[in-house]
């Protein structure tokens, strides 16, 4: 027998039912449960207070699927990493997302873990989150009041805190499609599979002549939340991907971030490796 309490759980079959439960006035917050790869570990109580009750949204099929609408790629919150890896739309339009999904856990995790779960679980080490920051993703939240949209950049408000209200569910992720946007992803972990990141980053830019514009750098595992690196982005904006630009950007990044020591790595290592990985990304695209 497991030596922990199995929390109360409801499994609504539709969004409407889910919205009703989220407003039941009981006072105990619901923890949404999607593929379970984070929440089912949390119910053991070994990593903090277990959730008081669970809202299992796995059966709400309207939250699955990937399609293009109004110049954006829309990905339902319950879309699994496996579905993202197999999607022709993702491969054609935002292939870096499939690349990030492929680094998460292994088959068992990718078959259950969802993009929406990665976003809402709000781990600073969530591997898709730097990508979502780098491509200016937006999150569509829903409740019985209707829908609202929050940009990725303002979604993670503190350590494992988000802009989602207790009565809301994440419905889908919206990725605007920009012509000429390039995105690169790197994850540094202990091994290739089943590793939680020591540092994870996604860099995006558009090419204007020789110069990079609209530079975005998203990072994970170096702060209490997934973050952008505005000073480093400014150092790269309008620059060609030269050795000098890479040196300046790597120095800016090492100065800008304030990682911590924890069980997976040290602050010194994270700061050093973040600068070097960024330098390498720029070099690989500068052809020198």
């Amino acid at each position: 027998m497991p030596n922990f309490v199995e929390p109360p759980i409801e499994s609504p079959a539709s969004l409407e039912q889910a919205y009703g439960l989220l407003r039941d006035g009981d006072g105990r917050p619901w923890r949404p449960l999607a593929g379970g790869t984070d929440v089912m570990v949390q119910i053991t109580g070994e990593i903090g207070e277990p959730p008081a009750r669970l809202l299992d949204i796995w059966a709400i099929d309207e939250l699955r699927g990937i399609h293009v609408e109004d110049g954006a790629l829309l990905i339902g919150a319950l879309t699994t990493y496996t579905a993202i890896r197999r999607s022709d739309e993702v491969a054609g339009l935002v292939p870096v997302l499939a690349e990030a999904a492929a680094t998460i856990g292994a088959a068992q995790i990718q078959n259950r873990g969802t993009l929406g779960g990665n976003v809402v679980n709000a781990s600073p080490a969530g591997d898709t989150l730097p990508v979502l920051l780098a491509v200016d993703a937006e999150f569509v939240l829903g409740s019985s009041d209707g829908e609202r949209t929050v940009p990725a950049r303002s979604f993670w408000t503190g350590y494992r805190q988000t802009a989602r209200h207790d009565h809301e569910l994440l419905l889908r992720v919206r990725i605007p499609l920009l012509s000429g946007r390039e995105v690169r992803f790197r994850k540094v972990g202990t091994r290739r599979a089943q590793a939680i990141s020591k540092v994870v980053m996604a860099l995006s830019w558009r090419v204007d002549g020789d110069a990079w514009t609209d530079v975005r750098l998203g990072l994970g595992s170096i702060a209490a939340t997934p973050v952008r690196a505005p000073a480093t982005e400014a150092a790269l904006e309008g620059q060609a991907p030269t050795r000098e630009a890479a040196d300046a950007a790597a120095a800016a990044l090492s100065a800008e971030i304030h990682p911590i020591d924890d069980v997976r790595s040290t602050a010194d290592y994270r700061r050093a490796v973040a600068g070097r990985v960024l330098h390498r990304l720029i070099r690989d695209n500068g052809g020198w």
């Binding site: 027998m1 497991p2 199995e6 929390p7 109360p8 759980i9 409801e10 499994s11 449960l33 593929g35 379970g36 790869t37 089912m40 570990v41 119910i43 053991t44 669970l54 299992d56 796995w58 059966a59 496996t82 856990g105 292994a106 088959a107 068992q108 995790i109 078959n111 259950r112 290739r192 599979a193 089943q194």
Partner: protein, 155 residues
């Protein structure tokens, strides 16, 4: 709550809290102890089973999410007491040592063989990347899966 799904070809009806782990339902309620618990947090793959053909960690699936699905465990592999090709290959290559990872490795291997990908070393390694072998006997396990793939192609 009562949950109804199929386990190894048989319809089952389980009365349980919906947040009960599928792993506990299989091992304790249905007495299918072939599926092992290693870490209980989705790291080791010892509890790998197939749900509708997809390999998953049974420690991370609440039984509420098994409703209406088809679950296969290691007990489903042998037919009439005879080992299937993959089990036979594990036996022949020495792919099983202490045995704790073996049921999970077999289920990850089954999912890989059913997926029909080329049985290259790289592909097999990716397919079992979510399964840890504490004896570190990976080479023999990879050989076993490659051998079973070869035999299925020849058959």
């Amino acid at each position: 709550m009562t949950f109804r799904f199929t386990v190894n070809g048989e319809p089952v009806e389980v009365k349980a809290n919906g947040s009960r782990r599928l792993l506990d339902v299989l091992r304790e309620d249905l007495a299918l102890t072939g599926t092992k618990e290693g870490c209980g947090e989705g790291e080791c793959g010892a509890c790998s089973v197939l749900i509708d053909g997809d390999v998953v960690d049974a420690c991370l699936v609440p039984v509420s999410q098994a409703q209406g699905t088809t679950v296969r465990t290691v007990e489903a592999l042998a037919i009439d007491g005879r080992l299937n090709e993959l089990q036979q290959a594990f036996l022949e290559t020495g792919g099983a040592q202490c045995g704790i990872c073996t049921p999970g490795m077999l289920m990850a291997g089954e999912a890989f063989l059913a997926g029909g990908a080329e049985p290259t070393d790289e592909n097999i390694r990716e397919a079992i990347a979510g399964n840890l072998c504490r004896c570190t006997g990976y080479t023999k396990i990879i050989e076993a899966i490659a051998l079973a793939a070869q035999r299925r192609t020849d058959a």
